[in-house]
């Protein structure tokens, strides 16, 4: 199904996660450190990276940043640390989703599939427009067929979660979504996921599409409620 690169130093977790994912039809390559993970990224060309945060020498956060410098491969953080701040920093570094250990094989599989699922606003989004052709939103050009977003003709390197969020919100401009709704619709988390996932992704998206990320015009905050796209 998917080619997964697991960057994890604990042998037991390596074996357990590999076993569970292989049973569900994924191919798994294991790297026991951040450095070997970055090398395997070039060699193995995975569809997705499962990244532990607590790694010897190079930390998971650093690995995450290095990957994002050149690649938009989906990254899911697999962290044993419940400390919220690490998770938030990981998300700000460019991760698309996170899983807190211990997690069942079923859950890991579901998250992998959700991140990889091609964005289709029809999947539960309200009144989705025809998913073909390009749309113009201010300086942004959104191509729903090729899944390319460009600004002033330059293609923007958007991570999968950023792209999904933007496509979802541009499908219904001016519609206000609560963070819980976005979490359910875009990340396919339960209603009670951590909404900071949304905040971190919005922040990263703004850094890429807005002229002034502190005065956003595309993805606007509706104070006390959530976010909406526009009005421009």
């Amino acid at each position: 199904m998917a080619r997964v690169l697991l960057v994890e130093d604990d042998p037991a977790v390596q074996r357990g996660v590999t076993l569970a994912l292989r049973r569900r039809g994924h191919e798994v390559e294991v790297a026991a450190s951040g450095e070997s993970g970055l090398l395997a990224l070039e060699r193995y060309r995975p569809d997705l990276v499962l990244l532990d945060l607590m790694l010897p020498r190079m930390s998971g956060l650093e690995v995450c940043r290095r990957i994002r410098e050149s690649k938009q491969v989906p990254i899911i953080i697999l962290s044993a640390r419940g400390d919220e701040i690490d998770m938030v920093v990981g998300l700000e570094a460019g991760a698309d989703d996170y899983i807190i250990k211990p997690a069942s094989g079923q859950l890991i599989d579901a998250r992998i599939k959700a991140v990889l699922r091609r964005v289709a606003p029809a999947q539960g989004g309200p009144s989705a427009p025809a998913a073909t052709g390009t749309e113009q939103h201010g300086d942004l050009t959104v191509d729903r067929t090729s899944l390319v977003v460009s600004r002033h003709g330059t293609e923007l390197p958007l991570a999968p979660s950023e792209l999904k969020l933007l496509l979802f919100m541009t499908a219904t401009p001016h519609q206000v979504y609560s963070r819980q709704q976005l979490l359910e619709q875009v990340w396919e988390h339960s209603f009670y996921g951590d909404v900071r996932l949304v905040d971190a992704c919005v922040m990263r998206l703004r850094a890429k599409i807005e002229d002034d990320p502190r005065k956003p015009v595309y993805v606007q905050t509706v104070r006390g409620f959530g976010y909406r796209f526009g009005p421009l």
């Binding site: 604990d10 357990g16 996660v17 076993l19 640390r81 609560s178």
Partner: protein, 508 residues
């Protein structure tokens, strides 16, 4: 000289400042010290003045009396020999006229009496001769005197018997009495003036003395009050949690000793407090560390429990092995839940539990929880959500509380479990009621304690033993409450009260 402390007279005080009917002494230490000082000074002055007055008055009167007796005796010595005995009334009157004339400077009024005869006087209004004095003269066979009050003025009355003598008779001698007694009385105005002067002098001395006594009294009060005030502010700082408070202990008096004891107490308190905090932090960190260390092996095990479940269900394993595999799988999941709860409790203990509040409808939260936890189509759980209940809450945390309460009610109570939400007194309230046996009264106060088990021997339930404790912490984190009680019908009811949203808002 009245030794009473009164505030200095002021302008007329407003009505509410007037002293109430039952006047109470001021309670302040300063006032009491000053009053005590003044009382002591007043007592001293009073005693001194009293003694001086008493002795001075006695000396003045004694001198006047002895002079009067001596004068009268001298007059009689010269006049009595000319009298013929028994004297007639005219003789007696002549004698008194002579005596009055002789004692003119003193303003004497003389009276003479022979035996028990009527006293005869030259003056138109003869001064009264007290019968007690007459008796005293008769009894003593000699001179006697007595002070009397006449017309509002003090008078001295002197009585003197006249005796025969070989050389013509000498008055007042212990010889044979002639039966003639002469009395003379005069006012003591000069002496009264002298005595008044004594009183005035005593007053003039005592009032400044009292005024001066206020000064050392205030100094003494200040020197006592300053350490007392410092001790009080020190005790207040300690009570306020500043256990590092120490005071300067100067001198060697009792207050300095008290200050040193205070410092010793503060030092002990601070040490014990630091020790307790260290131990508590250590215990908490240990629990958090244990939970954390358990996570990594659990992560490996949790990832493969479904593999075990599938193979156990597939029938390829021997029956015993399949049972053992299922057991391991189930227990791995409860262990993971327990570790998860322990981590959550550690976050509460470390005050690191984030609260992500939104304004929403409590009914939405209840519906979501029932749906997500698979209770939406469960006929054992009944939702009673008649009207919108705006609430300010963290949806994730409310879900944790509701899931715990409903799961708990299903495990320990009997269905149907009713979940009802309503707005009440500015609060958003949700109750979870079951129809089980209820909670025993001795258990009720402990239901929110960690790992509390109603019966020691009770078989381990599905929960981690932390569910209600976590629910309670979550309610407190919101600034809300979670309470447990028994319903009149016998079941248990848990009530979660959360802050209400300012304005009702429809969720889209």
């Amino acid at each position: 000289m009245a030794p009473g402390f009164r505030p200095p007279p002021r302008r007329r005080l407003p009505r509410r400042f007037r002293l109430p009917r039952g006047f109470r002494l001021p309670r302040g230490l300063r006032v009491r010290l000053v009053v005590a000082f003044l009382l002591a000074a007043a007592f001293g002055a009073l005693l001194t003045a009293g003694l001086t007055y008493h002795r001075g008055r006695a000396a003045i009167l004694e001198r006047t009396e002895s002079t009067a007796v001596a004068d009268l005796r001298a007059q009689l010595d010269s006049l009595a020999p000319e009298l013929s005995f028994p004297p007639r009334a005219e003789d007696l009157r002549a004698l008194t006229v002579q005596l009055d004339r002789a004692g003119g400077s003193r303003g004497w009024h003389a009276t003479a009496a022979y035996r028990d005869g009527e006293p005869v006087s030259a003056a138109p209004e003869p001064p009264p001769v007290p019968s007690s004095l007459r008796a005293a003269v008769r009894h003593r066979h000699g001179a006697a005197y007595e002070r009397i009050e006449r017309g509002g003025r003090p008078w001295l009355v002197v009585g003197m018997p006249v005796a025969y003598a070989d050389d013509g008779g000498r008055a007042g001698d212990r010889g044979e009495l002639s039966g003639l007694t002469v009395y003379t009385s005069f006012p003591l105005d000069d002496d009264a003036a002298d005595i008044d002067a004594l009183v005035t002098a005593a007053q003039a001395g005592a009032v400044p003395a009292l005024a001066l006594a206020v000064v050392p009294a205030l100094f003494a009060a200040r020197s006592v009050l300053r350490p007392v005030r410092r001790l009080r502010s020190g005790a207040e700082s300690i009570a306020g949690g500043e256990l590092g408070t120490r005071l300067d202990a100067e001198g060697r008096d009792e207050l300095a000793d008290l200050t040193r004891s205070f410092n010793a107490m503060a030092a002990t308190l601070e040490k014990d407090d630091a020790e307790l905090r260290r131990m508590e932090a250590g215990a908490r960190r240990f629990a958090a560390d244990v939970a954390h260390e358990l996570r990594t092996p659990l992560a490996a095990m949790a990832a493969v429990t479904e593999v075990l479940d599938e193979d156990a269900a597939s029938g390829v394993l021997p029956a015993d092995t399949a049972d053992a595999v299922r057991l391991i799988s189930e227990e791995t999941r409860s262990l993971a839940r327990l570790v998860e709860d322990l981590m959550e409790v550690s976050r509460f203990d470390a005050k690191a539990a984030p609260l992500d509040v939104v304004e929403t409808d409590l009914r939405t939260l209840v519906t979501k929880t029932l749906h997500l936890r698979g209770w939406a189509d469960d006929e054992r759980v009944v939702a009673d959500l008649p009207e919108p209940v705006p609430v300010r809450a963290d949806p994730r945390r409310v879900d944790v509380v509701l899931a715990n309460l409903i799961g708990n009610a299903l495990r320990h109570g009997r269905p149907p479990v009713t979940v009802a939400a309503r707005a009440e007194d500015g609060l958003a309230v949700v109750t979870v009621t079951d129809h089980g046996p209820g909670i025993p009264e001795d258990v009720l106060p402990h239901v929110f304690e960690r790992f509390f088990k109603a019966e020691e021997a009770r078989t381990r339930s599905q929960g981690s033993g932390l569910g209600l404790a976590i629910a309670h912490e979550n309610a407190l984190l919101h600034g809300g409450t979670l309470s447990a009680a028994d319903t009149p019908g016998g079941g248990a009811v848990f009530t979660l009260a959360l802050p209400r949203a300012a304005t009702p808002q429809e969720r889209r």
